[in-house]
Structures are given as C-alpha cells and as structure tokens.
C-alpha cells in the first residue's frame, strides 16, 4: 500500500485522486452517458414492447462502450455478446411468440397513485444522485495509482477477470454453473405445454 495513506477515521474521508483525463476521453464518456440516459428514457416511455426492448439494447451497447472506457474490456465484450446478444434476443422471441408487438388496448400505465409513488421515489433518488455526484470514495482500500493499468498490461483483459474469479471466487463460479443448469431445467418444466394425461 502507498505509505502516504493516512490511517484512522480521517482516511475514509479522503477521496480517490483521479488522473486528469484528455478532452477526447471526457467528451466520449459524456457522449455515451447521454446516449445511455436518453435511450433509457425512451425505453421506459415506449408503449410497444418491441420498441422498448430495442431501446434497451441501445442502452446496453452504450454501457458496453462505457465499460471499455473504464478499462473493463472483457466485461464490455460479455455485455455485448451475452446481454445485448443473447438475453435480449430471448426477450424479443417471447414478445413475438406471444404476439405482443402492438400496444395493448388496455391502459398500460398504472393509475394516479402509482404515478405519485413513482414521482416521489424519483425525487428521493434524484437527491441521491446529487449526493453521488460529490462522492467521496474512501482511499483506504484503493489500489495504488496505476496498479489497475499495470495488471491489465501484464495479464491481459481476460486474465485480469479470470484470475480472481477462478482463484478466490471458484466456489461462486461453480455455484453459478449449477444455477444456470437449474434455470434451464426450470424454464423447460415451467414453459412446456401440459397435457391432460400428465
């Protein structure tokens, strides 16, 4: 650890010092952030489920771009392949299978109380955003400056994630494979057509 770090309660109040970013980087970070936010708003206001799902794919792609800018290349690739690719395609399959492409005649939005509750919650969460914008991240547990970049250059984009996953979190990794198996079997059992014979 860096010897300049203070020990004691004050250390939690020190924030991580961020390096100065070039304008190119900052511009694209804000660009993809605005795209993600605008797509999310478009997603939540669409009436048609297909349009909503496609806007959500847009959100996921811009989040993948942000992951690349945050030095998480492997996660960005997984985001595009698994999330935007596989999971959203399953959603679109189900929407088309159930023929939900057109908006319902029934009112999709909830009544007055649902809107009021959502509005109140939005206010509370916006206050939380204002707090987060001044986030003071404790420096005590932070890695020394440049450690992440060094590890990335040394082990590669996949190795950085794979090493802690297959060493410290091996049990969780194996449990996830069991979870996926259970989910597959469960989905087949729940989704199959039941006959009267059994």
């Amino acid at each position: 650890m860096n010897s300049a770090l203070h020990v004691g309660p004050l250390a939690l109040l020190q924030s991580v010092v961020e390096p100065a970013y070039p304008l190119f980087y900052t511009f694209h970070f804000y660009l993809f952030g605005v795209i993600a936010l605008a797509s999310a708003i478009a997603f939540v206001t669409r009436r048609s489920p297909v349009a909503a799902a496609l806007w959500l794919v847009n959100v996921m792609f811009s989040l993948a771009a942000l992951y690349v800018m945050l030095d998480a290349h492997f996660i960005a690739a997984i985001q595009v392949l698994v999330y935007a690719g596989a999971i959203m395609v399953v959603f679109l399959f189900v929407i088309m299978l159930l023929n939900l492409g057109s908006p319902d005649e029934l009112a999709d939005a909830r009544g007055k109380w649902g809107m009021l509750g959502a509005g109140a919650l939005a206010l509370i969460l916006l206050v939380e955003i204002a707090v987060l914008a001044n986030a003071q991240v404790p420096v005590r547990f932070a890695l020394p400056r440049g450690a992440v970049e060094e590890a990335l250059a040394e082990k590669g984009a996949v190795g950085v994630v794979a090493e802690p996953m297959l060493r410290e979190h091996l049990l969780a990794f194996e449990l996830v494979s069991i979870l996926l198996l259970v989910a597959i079997v469960g989905a087949v059992v729940v989704g199959r057509r039941r006959t009267h014979a059994g």
């Binding site: 980087y25 900052t26 970070f29 804000y30 993600a36 936010l37 999310a40 708003i41 997603f43 939540v44 489920p49 959500l56 959100v59 996921m60 989040l63 942000l66 945050l70 030095d71 998480a72 492997f74 996660i75 997984i78 698994v82 999330y83 596989a86 999971i87 399953v90 959603f91 189900v94 929407i95 299978l97 159930l98 939900l100 319902d104 999709d108 909830r110 809107m115 959502a118 919650l121 939005a122 955003i129 914008a133 991240v137 547990f141 932070a142 450690a147 950085v160 994630v161 802690p164 410290e168 996830v176 979870l179 996926l180 259970v182 989910a183 469960g186 989905a187 729940v190 989704g191 057509r193």
Partner: protein, 97 residues
C-alpha cells in the same frame, strides 16, 4: 469520471424503478429489472477501476444470474399467457383473494 459513472448508474436505476412502478405490462417490467441490473453493473465496473478486478468478477456473476432469471421469468410469463391470454398485470390477480 468516477462520480459521473456513479451518477449515471443512479439515474439509470431510477428510470428502471419508475418503469417497474408505472407500467403494467409484465414483459416491460421485466426489462426494467434488467435495466436496474445494468445500472448496478456500471457501479461495479466504475469502482473496480480503483479497488481491483473483483468488481468485474461480480459483474460476470450478475450477468449469469440475469440470464438465469430471464430464462425462468420468461417461461413463467409464457405459462401465464397460456393460462390467461394476457401479460397485463392488472388481469393477473390469482393471489389477490
């Protein structure tokens, strides 16, 4: 960029929560949950830049759990649709008594 990423993630999570609270289409609500998971993933990735790659391992697990959740949840939605011919949550009130 850390504060901006955290603020964006909070905003995306807020939008997801608002969607869950204001919509009645079960599939849209499901998609809103996925949006909330994505917002949390952004927080993990942004903080993993300063606290090591364990955050990215958690993102990997979150994506796996989201895939499992999507498979089972969509199977349940298909089963409900087969039974009720609708995915509007207003008409799905078997447990309301």
């Amino acid at each position: 960029m850390l504060a901006e990423a955290l603020a964006l993630s909070a905003a995306l999570f807020t939008i997801g929560v608002i969607g869950v609270l204001t919509r009645r289409n079960a599939i849209i609500i499901f998609l809103c949950v996925e949006l909330m998971l994505n917002a949390v993933n952004l927080t993990f990735v942004a903080l993993s830049r300063y606290y090591g790659a364990t955050g990215q391992v958690f993102v990997f697990f979150v994506i796996s759990v989201a895939a499992a959740e999507a498979a089972v949840g969509l199977a349940i939605i298909i089963a409900i649709f087969r039974h009720k011919q609708t995915v509007n949550l207003q008409n799905i009130n078997l447990l309301r008594g």
